[in-house]
Symmetry: C2
Subunit: 364 residues, 2 copies
C-alpha cells in the first residue's frame, strides 16, 4: 500500500500517531506492571486499531484484550485469542455472534441480568461452545448488579447455566476515573474497588469460582493495581492519551493528534482550519493547539476549527495546524485510518478497523 511520504502530504483533516511516543507509552506501562501480580487487558475501544493492539499485547504483561462491543470483539479475534467484552451483551443476534467467536477463542462477557445470561446460554448451546461470564458489579454509575448478595446470586446462577462458565467479577468506577483531583480520585477508586473485592470474597465464600477480577482504567491504573485481589486492569487510553487524561499528570505522553490545514484568516486575531468536530470531538472540551505558540482553539464547528491567534501570527491559508484531542475514544471513532509518523516521515497507515458499527458494514 502506498501512502503519503511526509506529514505535509497527508490529506487533512487526519489522525497522526507519533510512533516513538506510542511505543514509549507501551513500555512505561509494561515497566510499571512487570513482575507485579496485576496484569493488563488493554481496552480496544480507545483506538479500535489492530496494529496498536498487537503492539500492546507484545509487551508481555497482558492477559488478552478488553472490548466494549461484539463488533470490536470480532475484529480483535483476528489477532487475539482471549477477549473480554466488558459490557452487557443483550439480544439474540449479538449472543449468537459471541457464541460463534467462542468456537475458536476464549471469550468472556460481563453479565448483570438473567436475560443476558440466558441469551448467551442459548447461543452457546447451539454452537456447542462455552462462553465465559464475569458478573458485573455496580461500583459506579453505568451498570451492574448490586454488590454483595445480588452479585453472589447472579454468580451462582451463571455457574449453574449450561454453555456459560463463571470466571470472575468485574466493575467499572467511571465516576472515579473522571476525577481531576488525585486525592479524590484515589479515595473514590479505592472505595469502589473495595466494594468489588467484598463481592469477590462473598462469591468465593459461596464456593463459586472467581479466577478473574477485572477493573480500572488509565485514570486509576496505579491505584487499582495496588488493590490486592484485582487480577487485571482495563486501561486503554494510556497508549495514545488525550488532554483530559494529560491533566492527571500521568507518566504517559500524548502520542496522537488531529492534523489540519488553515483555510481562512478572517481577521487579524483568528484563523479557520479544516479540522472541525467531525474530525475531533468536543465532549471533553475543545482540543489544545499543538506546537503553535499563543494560538488556542475557540470552538469547533462541523467542518471548521476557529482558532484565536496573536495579531503578529503569520498563519495563513495553506499552513499546517495540529490539535491535541480532549477525548481519545470518540475522536478516533470518526476516522478510518491513522497516519503513523516518525518525525515528519509517514512510515505507515493503520486502518481503524473496528470504527463505527461493524454489523452495518456487513453485506449480509
Amino acid at each position: 500500500m502506498t501512502h503519503p511520504r511526509t506529514l505535509a502530504d497527508i490529506p487533512t483533516p487526519a489522525l497522526v500517531i507519533d510512533l516513538f511516543a506510542m511505543e514509549r507509552n507501551i513500555r512505561t506501562m509494561e515497566d510499571y506492571l512487570s513482575g507485579g501480580p496485576c496484569k493488563l487487558r488493554p481496552h480496544f475501544k480507545a483506538h479500535k486499531t489492530p496494529e496498536i493492539a498487537k503492539r500492546q499485547l507484545a509487551a508481555g504483561t497482558c492477559t488478552g484484550i478488553t472490548v466494549a462491543t461484539v463488533g470490536e470483539a470480532e475484529v480483535a479475534a483476528t489477532f487475539c485469542d482471549d477477549i473480554l467484552i466488558a459490557n452487557q451483551v443483550i439480544g439474540r443476534d449479538k449472543a449468537a455472534r459471541v457464541a460463534e467467536l467462542a468456537k475458536s477463542i476464549k471469550i468472556a462477557v460481563a453479565i448483570e441480568s438473567e436475560l443476558g445470561l440466558d441469551q448467551l446460554s442459548e447461543a452457546a448451546q447451539r454452537t456447542g461452545a462455552t462462553i465465559g461470564a464475569l458478573v458485573e458489579v455496580n461500583i459506579g454509575f453505568r451498570a451492574g448488579t448490586a454488590p454483595g448478595e445480588p452479585a453472589v446470586a447472579l454468580a451462582r446462577r451463571a455457574s449453574d447455566t449450561a454453555g456459560v462458565e463463571l470466571q470472575g467479577l468485574m466493575g467499572y468506577a467511571g465516576h472515579a476515573a473522571a476525577m481531576d483531583d488525585r486525592t479524590q480520585r484515589e479515595a473514590a477508586e479505592r472505595s469502589a474497588i473495595e466494594r468489588l473485592l467484598a463481592s469477590v470474597a462473598a462469591v468465593r465464600e459461596a464456593g463459586l469460582p472467581c479466577e478473574i477480577v477485572s477493573a480500572g482504567s488509565t485514570g486509576t491504573y496505579d491505584i487499582t493495581t495496588q488493590m490486592q485481589g484485582v487480577t487485571e486492569i482495563q486501561a486503554g487510553s494510556y497508549v495514545l492519551m488525550d488532554t483530559a487524561y494529560a491533566k492527571f499528570g500521568l507518566p504517559f505522553e500524548q502520542a496522537f493528534w488531529v492534523q489540519g490545514t488553515v483555510v481562512s484568516r478572517p481577521s487579524e486575531t483568528r484563523v479557520t482550519a479544516d479540522c472541525g468536530h467531525k474530525s475531533c470531538t468536543m465532549d471533553h472540551g475543545v482540543p489544545d493547539m499543538k506546537d503553535i505558540e499563543g494560538a488556542s482553539v475557540m470552538f469547533l464547528a462541523d467542518e471548521h476549527a476557529m482558532i484565536a491567534v496573536p495579531p503578529e501570527s503569520t498563519l495563513k491559508p495553506g499552513d499546517p495546524v495540529a490539535m491535541w484531542p480532549s477525548h481519545i475514544d470518540p475522536t478516533i471513532n470518526l476516522h478510518d485510518v491513522f497516519y503513523v509518523v516518525e518525525g515528519d516521515r509517514v512510515v505507515n497507515v493503520w486502518p481503524i478497523e473496528a470504527r463505527g458499527y461493524r454489523e452495518q458494514r456487513q453485506p449480509d
Copy 2:
C-alpha cells in the same frame, strides 16, 4: 442486499429514517419554494447519503447539490452534475481532485484567498477543465473575504484567472442560523444577507458576472428566500431535522432517530441503553427520548445512554429505546447506514456513502 425485516431486528445502536416523514419534509420545502425566484441547493453534509439527496433533487426546485468537502463532492458527482463546494478548497491534491470532477460535471468552489484561487487554476489548466468560483463573503464568523472592495477585488482576480470562471458570491451567517429567537434570527440574517447583496451589487457595478448568489440554511430558509437577489439557499437539515432545529418551530418533522436497546436497569429510576455518544453526538446537547413518557436522557457516555425513568417504568434489559438527536450532521457521520422504515417495517438500508473522509478509504 438482505436487511432486517422489522424495527426489532435492527442491530443497535443504529440510525432509523421514517421514510414518510422524510418525504413530507421534502414536499413541504418544495411547496414553499415552488414558483418563487429562489431555488434550493440542498446541503449534502447534513446526511452524506445519495439515496436521500436523489429524492431531494427529484423535488424539482433544486439547482444542484451543496457539499462541504471534496470527498462529499466525489460521492455527489455519482448522481448530480451541478455541485457547489461551499467551502474553501486548500491544497494541491484537493484542487486536483476538483479539477478531475470538473472534466465531467459543473462544479464550483467558494474562494476567499489568492492561494485557493491559484491552486484551483493550476489544477484546472492541467486537466483542461473549468472550475466555477463563488467569492465567499464574510457575513458571519467562519470564513470569507471582507464585504465591499475586497470582495470585488477577489472577484476581479477570479474573473482574470485561467481555468476558473467567476459565477457569483456566497455567504454563510452561522451566527444567525443558530439563534433560537425568531425575531433576533430574522434581524441577524437580514443584516448579514444585506451585506452580501451589497457586495453583489458592487461586483456587478464593476462589470463582473454574478449569476449565483448562494446563502441561507434550514434555520433561516424562509428569511433568506425573501431577500431579493438570493438565487439559492443551502438548507440541508430540513430533510431529517434534529431537536436543535425543532425548537425553531419550523414546518419540518423530525424524521430520523437513534435506535437503542436497554442493557441495564442499575436503579429504580434509571436505565442504561447501548446508544452512547459514539452513536449520537452531544455538541448541541443531549438527545430527547422518543415515545417513552417520563423518560429523559441524563447523559451519554462513550457506549451508554444513561436514561432517567419514573420508578413505575417497566423498562428492562432487552427493551427498545429511541432518541431524537440534537444535531443531525455529526450524528449521521458516526454511522455507515440508515435503516429506512415505514411504520415498524424496514423497507431499505441506505449507505451513508460520504461518511468520514473518503480519501482515507482509498486503497492507495
